[in-house]
């Protein structure tokens, strides 16, 4: 079990865990960043979405070994002071209900906007349909992504 180095939200971190440990549990239990959620453990719900070298991935099925030497961004690192356009849009639309899925929703949406600054409804369908929201906030998620893309 050799130590694994990775960058999390801009900080170099070293963890000493079994290499098959999912990134999700390393983030939550070893690094204490609990904003990233566990929903299914099978890449079916998107609650655990983080960015790995800028790409949205499901951390529940990503072994920590696959993140070695890479950049991880979690919800805690999305912005300082809730200033990301998506976070502002999320407040404007009052998107969250229980809120449990919302970290994953925001990280998926942030990856979408980074690649496609002005997504169509079809783009949003494509990028966001891997993220389940059991509270049914989908309509507001769509509206908030459009709002953020327009910078309003």
């Amino acid at each position: 079990m050799a130590p694994i180095h990775l960058t999390v939200n801009g900080k170099l971190r070293t963890v000493d865990v079994a290499p098959d440990t999912p990134l999700l549990w390393v983030i939550r239990e070893h690094l204490g960043l609990t904003g990233t959620k566990f929903g299914c453990g099978m890449a079916l719900c998107g609650a655990c979405t983080v960015h790995l070298n800028g790409t949205a991935i499901r951390s529940c099925v990503t072994p920590i070994s696959a993140a070695a030497g890479k950049r991880v961004r979690t919800i805690e690192g999305l912005s300082r002071n809730q200033s990301h356009p998506l976070q502002r849009a999320w407040v404007a639309e009052d998107v969250p209900q229980c809120g449990y899925c919302q970290s994953g929703q925001l990280m998926s949406a942030a990856a979408l906007l980074a690649k496609t600054p002005h997504p169509t409804d079809a783009d949003i369908d494509e990028a966001m349909s891997g993220n389940i929201c059991r509270c049914g906030t989908y309509q507001r998620i769509r509206a908030a992504i459009h709002r953020a893309s327009k910078g309003v």
């Binding site: 865990v17 079994a18 440990t21 999912p22 549990w25 939550r28 239990e29 070893h30 204490g32 960043l33 609990t34 904003g35 990233t36 959620k37 566990f38 929903g39 299914c40 453990g41 099978m42 079916l44 719900c45 609650a47 979690t74 919800i75 805690e76 999305l78 912005s79 809730q82 976070q87 999320w90 407040v91 009052d94 998107v95 969250p96 209900q97 229980c98 809120g99 449990y100 899925c101 919302q102 970290s103 925001l106 949003i124 369908d125 494509e126 966001m128 349909s129 891997g130 993220n131 389940i132 929201c133 059991r134 509270c135 049914g136 906030t137 989908y138 309509q139 507001r140 998620i141 769509r142």
Partner: protein, 721 residues
């Protein structure tokens, strides 16, 4: 015009403790089935309003936030009458000692706002009058010449003003007015307006703490292998193999808690073996090595096919009559046209986004529980029982809930965490996997419905009979009253339509499957079956489904107004867009009436696509229209997910589904455009968390019928051939 309210008893008083102005409030017990006699103490507080010397207004309640937005709505009631500046309003920590409370702490039954509408407003008004009196005294003027406005008191003639923070110290020394004047609705600043939820900022940066996020120093993490067969027991397992895994500290066997003792929310857990480790992943590895062998017990032969056959067999005999009007049998015999149909719905799983979990720390001098719970009273009781400490020594720390929907009214996960903490002598967090969560739920009962109806030669409906066969949720709580489980018949026995001859019967099927309250409870199935069969009556009568309902609602003006608004906004009577069909349905639940019109098309593979849902709602006085819209969207998604996909099936005594691959959820790409229209109403305050769910399944199925001529009598809908 002002509204004076009578206080038949004191509902709030000032407490001496602490700086600032603090009012203790007494809220009545919930309206639910578990209602108990109110506390004998004439004044036992269960909510608090505090205005700190810095002007911050803190409202402390005994209700859980699980997405429904109730705590924000409750704070709005106080802030409105207090004339508080919304930016200064905060929610206090949910109370931690339910035993000292005068009502059960249970968030459910869409009851939070309904039980608090008046008392919280009065408390806010009382504090406002005290602040006004303090300012008037300081200025030496008549209180009647002063006005409270958004966190300040203004002396209207002179224009002088003082902020609340400058007044709280004096106000706190004044007597609490017994009969504070409530604002007339025309002057409402917050109620009925779109107000931002207080919890949103915590939910966009990962800082909200859910049960799963609780961290306690020295905490271990447990994963439990539970018996897959309902009611089975542990035979043997290999603790040594599990312990050989790194990080595994303990292996603990947990006996089944059968939950058959009755009482307030009896706890039920499956037998299992827990692996307790430093981290979740380690616990999971250890658990996989356990190789548990089970004594499968008496339910090993249970299957969904067998349950269906039992239902059909029981439906042959008359049940217990829940409601009777006129002479239904004679009317059916005399009908010019008679129709009959059988409907069936499956067991359903709650699927909260956050899997079940709880953290407990049992010590010799007490026990702390951190839990995402809807039922603090039950959590405290079960913790005391399994920790072996007096109930007052248990503190229940309520976290945010990643969804509740009724599942978190159960206390099984608390019982597990407490037993494990006690066994290993350290704080323990129990984390359920999604598979654990799917397979060890408290399911919405499956049910079977036999209907008959008659219409006369002119096409007027004359008779309606409905026989329901289902296992009874309430049997857990003790013997049924008059043989009726009112959750089984809610939404059926109170059918709003004026059939002159009508009978609704219930037969209880005794099954070992764990049952629970699933968002909208009995109305989740009864709205589907009754609103579908009413559509069938319309076909038999040769009438438009909306017009037939309208005619049958002559004596129900509230229902009729809701139905008409939904129909009008949806364009009922005009042709649906090409390739689409429209269906309508109406349901009253939890004090609110909702009608929904769904617009549906079929995709090439026969999948149902719902494009648009128009909702009309009468929920009494409007607190926050933004929350009403959110809850209608949420209720539609919840009910639509179940209607399209939801089924828990059983084979060899085991739940067959395991994760979102075989228990699918509605996805963003499938989200219909949901429109909500609110009927202005001065009816009694209704609930909002559940009433959006019941009408969607029948609205969609009636739309499928309009489009294809195919009547869906069994859920889930699946694909249409």
């Amino acid at each position: 015009m002002s509204t004076h309210s009578d206080l038949s008893r004191r509902e709030f008083l000032q407490t001496a403790a602490g700086a600032g102005l603090v009012l203790a409030i007494h809220l009545p017990p919930p309206l639910r089935r578990d209602v108990r006699a109110d506390s004998a103490d004439p004044f036992a507080p269960n909510a608090w309003l505090a205005i700190a010397p810095d002007g911050t207004v803190t409202v402390t309640m005994d209700r859980s936030e699980m997405g429904q937005g109730a705590p924000t709505a409750l704070a709005m009631l106080v802030a409105e009458e207090l004339e508080a500046d919304w930016a200064t309003v905060r929610l206090g920590t949910t109370v931690e000692n339910p035993a000292a409370w005068s009502r059960r702490m249970l968030t459910g039954g869409s009851s939070s706002v309904r039980t608090s509408y008046e008392p919280l407003r009065k408390a806010g008004a009382a504090a406002r009058e005290m602040l006004v009196a303090a300012a008037a005294a300081q200025w030496g003027v008549e209180p009647a010449t002063c006005q409270a406005r958004q966190g300040t008191v203004v002396h209207t003639p002179s224009g002088r003003s003082l902020p609340y923070k400058a007044l709280v110290a004096t106000a706190a020394t004044l007597p609490v007015p017994a009969n504070p004047t409530l604002k007339p609705p025309a002057e409402f600043r917050y109620l009925g307006k779109r107000v931002k939820r207080l919890d949103t900022p915590l939910k966009i940066d990962g800082s909200a703490v859910f049960g799963l996020d609780v961290q306690v120093p020295g905490m271990l993490v447990a994963s439990i292998q539970r018996c897959p067969v309902i009611g089975g027991k542990v035979k043997r397992y290999d603790a040594a193999k599990a312990k050989a895994h790194p990080g595994v500290r303990h292996v603990v066997e947990l006996p089944e808690i059968p939950g058959t003792g009755g009482g307030f929310f009896p706890t039920r857990t499956a037998a299992g073996v827990a692996v307790v480790a430093d981290t979740y992943w380690q616990a999971l590895q250890g658990r996989r090595a356990l190789e548990v062998e089970w004594d499968e017990g008496p339910n090993a032969g249970l299957s969904s096919a067998g349950i269906s056959a039992l239902f059909a067999q029981l439906a042959v005999q008359p049940g217990v009559v829940a409601r009777k009007e006129g002479e239904p049998d004679a009317a059916l015999g005399a009908a010019a046209k008679k129709i009959a149909a059988v409907y069936e719905v499956p067991f359903l799983y709650h699927a909260t986004m956050e899997p079940m979990n709880a953290t407990a720390h049992v010590r010799s001098d007490g026990c702390d529980v951190w839990a995402p719970t809807q039922n603090q009273t039950g959590a405290q009781a079960v913790a005391a029982q399994y920790a072996g400490v007096p109930i007052e020594q248990v503190r229940v720390h309520t976290t945010f809930l990643g969804g509740g929907f009724g599942r978190r009214a159960e206390t099984d996960f608390v019982a597990e965490a407490v037993q494990l903490s006690k066994a290993v002598g350290a704080p323990v967090k129990v984390i359920w996997s999604r598979e654990d969560d799917v397979q060890h739920g408290f399911y919405r009962p499956a049910s079977y419905h036999a209907f008959a109806a008659g219409v006369d030669a002119a096409g007027a409906p004359t008779a309606w009979t409905h026989r329901i066969v289902a296992p009874a949720i309430l049997a857990r709580f003790g013997p049924l009253q008059d043989g009726i489980d009112r959750t089984t018949v809610e939404g059926a026995a109170n059918l709003p339509y004026g059939f002159p001859n009508l009978r609704v019967e219930q037969t209880v099927a005794d099954l070992p499957v764990p049952l629970g309250f699933w968002r909208s409870v009995g109305s989740s199935h009864n709205a589907f079956v009754t609103e579908s069969f009413v559509d069938e009556v319309a076909v038999a009568a040769g009438k438009d489904p909306f017009e037939l309902r309208r005619a049958l609602l002559a004596a129900q003006p509230r229902h009729r107004a809701v139905l008409e608004l939904a129909a009008q906004k949806a364009g009922w009577g005009t042709p649906a867009p090409a390739g689409r069909g429209r269906g309508i349905a109406l349901a009253e639940s939890f004090g609110s009436i909702v009608a929904e019109v769904a617009e549906v098309s079929l995709e090439s593979g026969g999948q149902v696509r719902v494009h648009r849902v128009v909702c009309a709602v009468d929920c009494g006085p409007i607190v926050n229209p933004d929350t009403i819209e959110a809850q209608m969207q949420s209720g539609v998604v919840y009910g639509l997910t179940a209607a399209l996909y939801g089924a828990i099936t059983i084979d060899k005594g085991r739940v067959q589904q395991s994760n979102f691959n075989d228990y699918p959820m509605l996805r963003l790409r499938e989200m219909p455009a949901v429109e909500t229209y609110i009927v202005p109403s001065d009816a009694k305050q209704g609930g909002m968390g559940e009433p959006g769910t019941p009408p969607i399944a029948p609205a969609v199925c009636n739309a499928i019928f309009a489009l294809t001529g195919k009547r869906i009598r069994k859920l889930p809908i699946g694909t249409i051939a």
